[in-house]
Symmetry: C2
């Protein structure tokens, strides 16, 4: 129950959202979601909804729906598509779909050994993607951010040549980020108190948000593919190990926004020293560098082929990393009773070898394992989850608040 | 925004709740909350609200408020108290307070070495409390439940002699409980698949709910005393160790209701065998039996006096238990970014000795400890938290849905 009458302006906002989401829900049923090219969903592809369909589904009058649809088309959010020729009497109505050449989201990612950018359109299509692999640790934060700004400018230019308008950017960083975009600490990058929007020169006036990479990857995973479990732990394996915790279908950020530091959960309290100052953190057993060292392999790209070739040292290294990961993850399942564990980052292509050890630890250590099986599976988006989740967050903000976008383009 | 017009019946339900909570909020401001005798809150004690005050606070008409208040008085939920004599013109209005002789909640607790019952009235007063200390492990579940039913009958008789009506019971159990009240597993009691409502013969028709003891204790703690942090970890130290996780002011139960199994988080993956079948669980380091064994002490009641006397073996045992608890708790804080850790059960009277070790591990292991201090403190309710939380849950259900209670007494 609301405390008073709904004002006209907020009623229009509400109804714009209702109408847009009707078209969006068709787009997602037809398989166009925030997913990479790997993932093609199957299922019935119904015709896109007409104005009359939307009026029927929302209980709004046809006149109201038509006026709202006109505004959404003018703002570049919806497109009318011609009906398929049909036998019988009457002119079939045009269908409404999310616009593939309206506003788009720019995702950026700063990680220890790569930088990435991608552009996702309103209908979930990936329209641009670039990854630059290089160790970012030697560079000063301002140098790294200047290169990210360059990636962003390239991505924006590519998007604009395709007729898109980049509506905003979200930046994924492997560290602790304040709501204002200050990176308090990114231990594996060696960053402390780095102002990311400032260092990006706010990308020429584009709205910029900054968030933890595991959080954005978990959001990417949540919205990719078919509806999965409502509660899961997304584990991001990189040089550091982060986690995004999804509870009841929503990202859980913690009281101060700093949840998910799985990499610093202790596996052995007196284990090897960690960069964070503590001992025996999971990162020291299952982080990328620990795996490469134990496997005697130079780069992460070599791990999968050498595991496939059955090299015993590599297999042993993965089993050991998986067991330590399983100990920490079993603790999380004991505490949070999540339904699934998603292996992301470098863990995604290695899930075939890490998964069995993780499952074994869960089976042995989780008190409820006998009644409540926990699914352990690779991420659908793999290494792209964070940058795709970042771009998707920008796009979903438009889905959720189309009136704000219309107000921006009207001025 | 609601989907349609609010029906008259649900409008009345809603408004009954509004009116009752106005009186309840005065009662809680004046210090009458679900707290034990230990805790006397200070602060201004305003006069209880009159019908006119409630009309002003809720924007309902005076006539509507008066009709609702009459119903709440008739149902035994509100009581009118006479105004203090006042100088000047006009007859001062009567004040409305929660009834101290209307419906009450019965809390029951089954733990490894004690059984407990308590009755809490609508205004939060504890009207009856009984604890029977005895090892429950030798008894069969049906024998234990028969004794609990006896405790419940005594409590109910005591309450009725004071003019109260017991509205329902909630039972705290140290184990995994299904929504129907089946105890799937209580490892330290040795229970598997025990139907608690059935074993209690449903207490002569009383509505009975069953819940995990740490969950109920966390709820007790959440509603006891002044408004505390919105996110905290309540740790229940008994023979087993459980946790209740409060996030954003609400108990987090997990996807299937089985969250909070802190006692089975691994401290050392290859440590001593646990009753659950795994190795190195926290319970093996910081459970009641591990502490007593290390301290060379026979019963938990002896721990505090001997720690106060400075016995070095006891102090070392507590420091060691605190350190292991701190390792596990630091992992939770890294994951969930909670603002406080509440030491409950046998940990509450020992917090002076356990707290420093827990704080040291948090300080060393939590990545954000430098910016986000985490409060570590004893439970306000001590060993009574679960049974008080159970009784309080029954009472709060009446606060939240007074119309349901009125419908019950009307038939």
């Amino acid at each position: 129950m609301t405390d008073g009458p709904v004002r006209q302006a907020s009623l229009r906002e509400h109804n714009l959202g209702l109408v847009l989401r009707q078209a969006a829900s068709w787009s997602s049923r037809s398989g166009r979601r925030l997913a990479g090219p790997r993932q093609e969903l199957e299922g019935e592809v119904a015709r896109p909804p007409s104005r009359a369909d939307i009026a029927a589904a929302t209980s709004l009058t046809r006149a109201t729906v038509s006026a709202l649809v006109d505004d959404l088309i003018a703002g570049g959010l919806l497109t009318e598509v011609g009906p398929a020729p049909r036998a019988g009497a009457g002119r079939p109505a045009a269908g409404l779909v999310l616009s593939a050449d309206g506003p788009a989201g720019l995702g950026l990612e700063i990680n220890v050994d790569y930088l990435a950018a991608c552009v996702v359109d309103l209908a979930g299509g990936v329209r641009h993607r670039e990854v630059r692999r290089a160790d970012q640790r030697p560079g000063r934060p301002d140098q790294v951010l200047a290169e990210v700004a360059g990636l962003a400018a390239d991505a924006r230019a590519h998007a604009e040549r395709q007729g898109l308008t980049v509506a905003g950017a979200a930046v994924a960083v492997p560290g602790l980020v304040t709501p204002a975009g200050l990176v308090r600490l990114a231990p594996n990058l060696g960053w402390r108190d780095v102002d990311v929007p400032d260092g990006l020169d706010a990308l020429d006036g584009l709205p910029v948000t900054v968030d933890n990479e595991a959080n954005l990857a978990a959001l990417g995973e949540l919205h990719a593919g078919p509806t999965g479990p409502a509660s899961f732990l997304y584990v991001s394996g990189e040089v550091g190990i982060g986690a995004g915790i999804v509870l009841q279908g929503a990202l859980f950020r913690g009281a101060r926004g700093w949840s998910g530091e799985l990499g610093h959960v202790a596996v052995r309290p007196d284990g090897p020293a960690c960069r964070c100052g503590a001992r025996g953190c999971l990162e020291q057993y299952s982080g990328q560098e620990a795996i490469l060292r134990a496997a005697g392999v130079g780069g992460t790209d070599d791990l999968r082929p050498r595991a496939e070739a059955g090299e015993s040292v590599v297999l042993a290294a993965l089993a050991e990393a998986g067991a330590a990961l399983g100990v920490a993850v079993a603790g999380v399942v004991n505490l949070l009773d999540v339904e699934a564990v998603v292996l992301g980052g470098i863990y995604a292509p290695l899930a075939e070898w890490l998964g069995p050890a993780v499952r074994a630890e869960i089976g042995q250590r989780v008190l409820t394992a006998a009644w409540s099986p926990v699914e352990v599976r690779p991420s659908l988006l793999g290494g792209d989850a964070a940058v795709m989740g970042a771009a998707g967050m920008v796009v979903r903000a438009i889905h959720d608040h189309p009136a704000r976008w219309l107000a921006r383009v009207a001025t």
